[in-house]
């Protein structure tokens, strides 16, 4: 069966520090991969998605970047975090095609101090 791993679960970082969040999927090949951010009590904002290795689509101009160095690995990064980067970050995958249900990791709660 397919599983998705996202870590760390919580992270506290100072303003101006770098960020790297990692997401990996097991048990499937060629998945679509997604990074979302969720503000407290709000819906999901799509940040990036990828349909293949090295292919990244950015939805919102911001202080973050994403990379997909391997088929089942998706990384969210920042060189210098801002206070506004605080939030709950969720990684998800779906079978190639995009119209299928998405399967989410347990998220990373990021607090910027």
């Amino acid at each position: 069966s397919q599983t998705i791993h996202q870590w760390p679960a919580t992270l506290v970082q100072p303003v101006g520090s770098p960020l790297s969040l990692e997401c990996t999927v097991e048990g499937t090949s060629n998945p679509n991969l997604y990074w979302y951010r969720q503000a407290a009590g709000r819906g999901l904002q799509l940040l990036f998605y990828s349909v293949g290795i090295g292919q990244i689509s950015s939805e919102v101009p911001q202080n973050l970047s994403a990379s997909r160095p391997q088929d089942r690995q998706f990384i969210l990064s920042s060189k210098k975090l801002l206070l506004s980067d605080s939030g709950f970050y969720l990684c998800a995958w779906s079978p190639l095609g995009g119209r299928q249900p998405q399967h989410f990791g347990d998220g990373t709660r990021l607090s910027i101090l």
């Binding site: 679509n32 819906g43 998605y49 349909v51 995009g98 119209r99 347990d106």
Partner: protein
Amino acid sequence: SQQGEEDPQALSIQEGENATMNCSYKTSINNLQWYRQNSGRGLVHLILIRSNEREKHSGRLRVTLDTSKKSSSLLITASRAADTASYFCAVSNFGNEKLTFGTGTRLTIIP
């Protein structure tokens, strides 16, 4: 935007009652999906209804879709305390690799 909008934003009911949540969207869709999120966790897919379907059932869940009104509803029958969560609709467009999520309904079941 294509974003789904859920209604109500929050709903509290007694255990055993039925809960109904609504979702509206703005443009043509390929399918509409409902997800559930427990506090502090990731989303879990509940049910998918295609644009050519009008109703779908899964256990205690019943979803309807009215493409003429661009709306969907999620009915949870015989609610349980464990149903307490936030519920989101998400729409998929044709030729698109992504979903657009609504803002969610926070459901509280009172034991």
